[in-house]
Symmetry: C2
Subunit: 395 residues, 2 copies
């Protein structure tokens, strides 16, 4: 069969993260800092297990039959109230849409907002699904240069001026992969550019609840007078990634448009949402967030200490205020591929910035290191190995 | 905010089925034949409950942490073997892709195969998500006239000749909404047209396991020498709709392309797949299918008897060999809206063919009646009410 598939479907992409996993699986004692899994010790296993059992027992048909297309109303209402109370989200003309994992919004948003040839903007280094989902609808992802405060508004404006942009994808808290948090002034500047060029802002906040130092920064949604911000949140990092319960919060108009696309995909599992809802009712969620943030903070500290002790002084180590990633920038003159290969061969997997680069011709000179998924002693040992490699190469 | 949304996103569609539910909710004792829910008594509640508990207990982290992007490998393998053994599906160069409900493929397929302005073909009356998902990617759904054997190959060819078509959406077994089953000769003719014009065939088979009379017809996938058929199946009608476990089976090439789109949407819940897998291990699935098919057959018989006893002889009643719908064609001279309104006012909800019409200007003259979701006595009473309405109008 010789079938002409659309060019937008690019199935020749290699996954650097999968490549690390494959190479690592052949190395005894391999330590991977490559994944983005939540810390296992932060998952309230017993409560969730109890909730899964109770939800099923209380009303099996609610679990087993088709449920409401819009998702479980009670958890939507819980989320809505919390967003208004703790994130300053607007109350009027706004709704929650439940998602099978917040990542589902990465597909839904460009499917709803973009036509072929439209442009969409994101950080020059960001979560790959953020820009791959743009490509998959035939839109053109445009990576915007960043500084230590995240996306640079003037650079966004330069690109937005063409008038082809539909939305801006941002992770303002503990960005993936850089760990950077965008200060309030920068958030407002980006919002102003979006207003001027009539762009929607996709505010992705999967890590926002995991803050272990510094003060929280108001969400972009909190000063969204125009209703142009889609705020996307998740229980994946705070309760369970595997149950796949996330949500978005947006104006009624945006929800109505996104629902057209989502509705044709059919229903989501209600069971999973009900398990999370019941767990929220059994626990003090705000206390739980403090507990797990402390776990992440401790792991981050262990990694930061290890890197600062062992790495070459030519490494620039970005220590985040939350989330699960440390970003290590290396000198531009160095061969990042050689460093990466040497680290893997020595038994530690770190992800090259190339894996997150919107523009493959600008792969960057940095590594993303995850500190949440490894045991404390593995973090220490991995940092020593990686640090030694950097000193061998750079010093 | 004045934001220019793409024209393809049509949020002005009314849902006739939701309208019936709303009007019915104000009528005491209202009987709805409007939904497509599986028969509650066919769901193995205790087994699934036990499996949900055991899966969680055996390995909570498999439930709660991120799992494989491709889904649970063991259930894929189980499905693959069954498709090869019982559906004659090709073995080589083919794979299973797990889906959170088979309906997810309705979005994935046009996203993978179509660009804006492409055409896609389907029965003139079909499951609305089948053609809405085409519209949502900017493709043009073209409804193909049907006869008592389903889609007419010559009519498909007329449209395919333009050379703009990418795929054909079909429900060959107990079609929704007509209940029609496409005979083997017709399947082969449609396949030949697809081959001639290089179209993919989307063979949607959510009802195929629920056959209560007649002999099963080979799947189109079983004679797919070219690897151009995407076979889509589900556990929604046989084990549980609410858990949302479905799958597709296609050539490695197609799976690779669809995976590009699906991968950027993020992970699916593995828990739900593991519950179904465990249930399959605890039961004799083939025996279970016989048992539930008998339940559906009995309910179909009750409805068919009721309609034949009470309806005007001017109604043409299509009794299916499986699935969950009876299609009642009324005279073209009659005002279908008045009949529908009178039926609802009298306490019974039936869905006008308009709800399933690809072309709104050709809304048809028929009703879809579901027999699986109502209790036996409600089926009898509802048929009497509906039958009387038809006699008042037509006789």
């Amino acid at each position: 069969m010789i079938y002409r598939f659309p060019e937008k479907i690019q199935d020749n992409q290699k996954s650097l993260i999968r490549d690390i996993a494959e190479r690592g699986s052949r190395i005894p004692g391999f330590i991977s800092f490559a994944l983005g899994n939540p810390a296992a010790e932060s998952i309230p296993v017993e409560i969730l297990q109890e909730c899964a059992r109770e939800v099923f027992e209380e009303d099996p048909m609610k679990v087993l039959q088709y449920g409401p297309l819009a998702g479980e109303a009670e958890i939507s209402s819980w989320i809505r109230q919390r967003l208004i109370a703790t994130k300053g989200c607007p109350e009027n003309n706004h709704q929650v849409m439940m998602l099978t994992g917040s990542g589902k919004a990465l597909g839904l948003v460009p499917r709803t907002l973009c036509e072929e040839g439209d442009e969409a903007f994101c950080d020059e280094f960001t979560f790959p699904n953020g820009f791959n989902s743009m490509k998959n609808v035939g839109a053109i992802p445009v990576g915007i240069p960043m500084d230590e405060n995240g996306m640079i508004p003037e650079e966004l404006e330069k690109q937005a001026k063409r008038g082809k942009g539909k939305y801006v994808y941002l992770i303002p808290n503990f960005q993936n992969p850089t760990g950077l948090t965008m200060p309030i002034e920068r958030r407002k500047e980006i919002y102003e550019v979006a207003r001027r060029y009539d762009l929607i802002i996709y505010e992705d906040d999967p890590y926002g609840e995991i803050r272990f130092c510094g003060d929280s920064v108001p969400t972009i949604k909190s000063f969204d007078d125009d209703g142009r911000v889609i705020y996307v949140g998740s229980f994946s990092k705070t309760l369970s990634a595997g149950l796949r319960v996330g949500f978005l919060y947006a104006s009624n108009e945006l929800i109505r448009k996104i629902s057209v696309v989502k509705g044709a995909d059919g229903q989501d599992p209600i069971y999973n949402q009900k398990i999370i809802l019941k767990a929220l009712g059994k626990m003090d969620y705000e206390e739980h967030l403090k507990t797990i943030s402390a776990i992440y903070g401790r792991k981050c500290r262990i990694m930061a200490d290890g890197l600062m002790e062992y790495c070459s002084s030519k490494c620039h180590i970005l220590i985040p205020e939350g989330g699960m990633f440390i970003w290590v920038v290396i000198p531009e003159s160095e061969d990042i591929n050689a460093v990466s290969d040497a680290a893997i061969a020595a038994g530690v997997g770190v992800v090259k910035s190339e894996a997150f680069a919107v523009d493959p011709s600008r792969p960057g000179h940095a590594f993303r290191l995850n500190f949440s998924a490894s045991k404390d002693e593995d973090i220490q040992r991995g940092c020593r190995i990686f640090g030694q490699i950097t000193r061998e190469f750079f010093d």
